[in-house]
Point group: C2
Chain length 329, copies 2
């Protein structure tokens, strides 16, 4: 792809996802609005099939493949939401999927991926490379590699979340001033920008990242791809991509406003607010954009702002940790 | 009222609630379905304004009052969801509300009720009667008493949740075999039966109750109003009405199937499943119908079943208790 994807590509993805992706609700809370002095909307993608937005991109990818390629299957690597999204998309479309997962991945995530009918290949995080294993499978079987974010079919699929939220806001008579989405490699945030701006061209769209893993925010500021110093160490396990993608970064430069960076503590506080006021379960990585709005890093005062809560696949212990921080419990 | 309310009354309530009540999503989970051998849908009323379905009935009540009566205000008593629903309905319609709440009610619930603009009158649970206080206020000010369930305007308002869920199932091409809703005084369950049966006449509709507080189940079985032996002692704090209502019981006899009774332990397990698989926050009383489906008391195998999760106003400690029971955490 030398040309950047457009709003029309997101609309085409939305047609493919019709009846497949749940039209997740746009939630609002009078008390939170009063506190922030504006209107804050949450697009609750934690309620999406497989517990995160990832099914949107994965399904759009598989549905866009040729029938001949689909027969040869698809392969991906992920220890988290992309694995479950890809496996479930394969089940829905009758495409055999193979997912390369770390041998020390949580048993529940492995079981959930298998429950969708995917073949799970376990690898040793220390001694082996998941990319090499995945590429080996692709070479041997002819399966197509489905990347987690750096592909136009993925990002335009994710962008349907942004398209929907703008449509839902419009149905309420609301013109959004700003939208924010969690960001790892930039698929959701850039796709969301395409989807939102096609309906509300004046809205700014921002990517939220955890402190220490703000490669996109720094890359947007410097004008070139910047890497994170570390590969792990944030509670936001879904947002640890080392650098912006080759497909997503040029698009991000065109469609995204300045990045938003939040701490793990701010993320835990946002998870608690999501529990207490919005009654939804949000995983740490899914709560970064909400955290930016609640802390004022993304100003809500006097404005209409929407944030995507992108997933709810959080383990019990981490959720209890968030609830235990409550000031009002 | 000597004639029983009908489907048309629920439809009229739905028109009043248009743009006011959130059209909460109907959620489904592939793994849960596979485990139960059928299709289970959750109507997520915990995502409703004020965190429970109660705004539906309260708003419908206030909107049905004459303008002259509305100017004189409304009064109600509740320590929980009805208080918040009535207060917020009053705010939305510009009706002054007074809520009589126990002095030992959780500070957060009192604050939330006040945040909607209601005047809160605190009383001593041991020495005073909230009914007497509320009736005194009504007498002095001309305010209308808004009961929590035993009124046709309330139950037909609550019934819009059932109407919506049947419409949502129909849009998915699904004909429901059975529907269940949590039950305290019977407003939600009887209203839901009217709403569901207007669209899917062959569906059976059931009220879920906590063990020891199964007055409606016993009343339906015996054919006369039965009382509960205790007034407290279940984790389901929202479902402790002492006996079926004078308005709701005759209707329940006509429209409800046999009652479903679940233990507090089964309720806590259902809350954990709602967290883990559906990513929603459900309070104990809101989870009884889900618990009935998950335990097989309401059979799902080979059928299409919907349950209402009616509220999410649960304190942090109780939610942590539910999560801590997880077998898969």
């Amino acid at each position: 792809m030398t040309t950047l994807p457009t709003f029309a590509d997101v609309q085409a993805a939305a047609r493919r996802l019709e009846g497949i992706a749940i039209r997740t609700p746009l939630l609002e809370n009078a008390r939170v609005n009063a506190k922030l002095g504006g209107r804050l909307f949450i697009k609750a993608e934690c309620l999406q099939r497989t517990g995160s937005f990832k099914i949107r991109g994965a399904y759009n990818f598989l549905a866009s493949m040729s029938e001949a390629d689909r027969k040869k299957g698809a392969v991906g690597w992920s220890s988290g939401n992309h694995a479950q999204g890809l496996a479930e998309a394969g089940r829905l479309l009758g495409v055999k999927t193979t997912i390369v997962m770390p041998a020390d991945a949580p048993a529940l995530k492995v079981a959930n991926t298998r429950a969708s009918g995917a073949e799970v290949v376990l690898y040793d995080r220390v001694k082996e490379s998941r990319e090499e294993i995945g590429q080996g499978i692709a070479k041997k079987t002819g399966a197509t590699i489905v990347p987690p974010y750096d592909h136009v079919w993925i990002l335009t699929g994710q962008g349907t979340a942004g398209l929907e939220l703008a449509e839902q806001a419009k149905a309420l008579g609301v013109t959004l001033d700003a939208v924010a989405a969690p960001c790892s490699g930039g698929g959701l945030s850039t796709g969301t920008a395409l989807g939102v701006k096609g309906i509300m061209p004046n809205a700014t769209v921002h990517a939220g990242e955890p402190a220490g893993f703000d490669d996109l925010a720094r890359s947007l500021a410097s004008g070139q791809k910047e890497k994170n110093a570390k590969l792990s160490g944030s509670i936001c396990d879904a947002l640890l991509a080392p650098e912006p993608g080759d497909v997503t970064f040029p698009l991000a430069q065109k469609v995204l406003g300045p990045g938003l960076v939040v701490t793990d503590e701010e993320v835990l506080d946002a998870m608690e607010v999501a529990f207490r006021e919005f009654k939804i379960v949000v995983e740490p990585g899914g709560a970064v954009a909400l955290a930016a709005a609640l802390t004022g890093k993304l100003p809500v005062k006097g404005r209409n702002v929407a944030v995507i809560c992108s997933g709810g696949n959080v383990d019990h212990a981490t959720f209890i940790r968030a609830l235990s921080r409550a000031k009002t419990a």
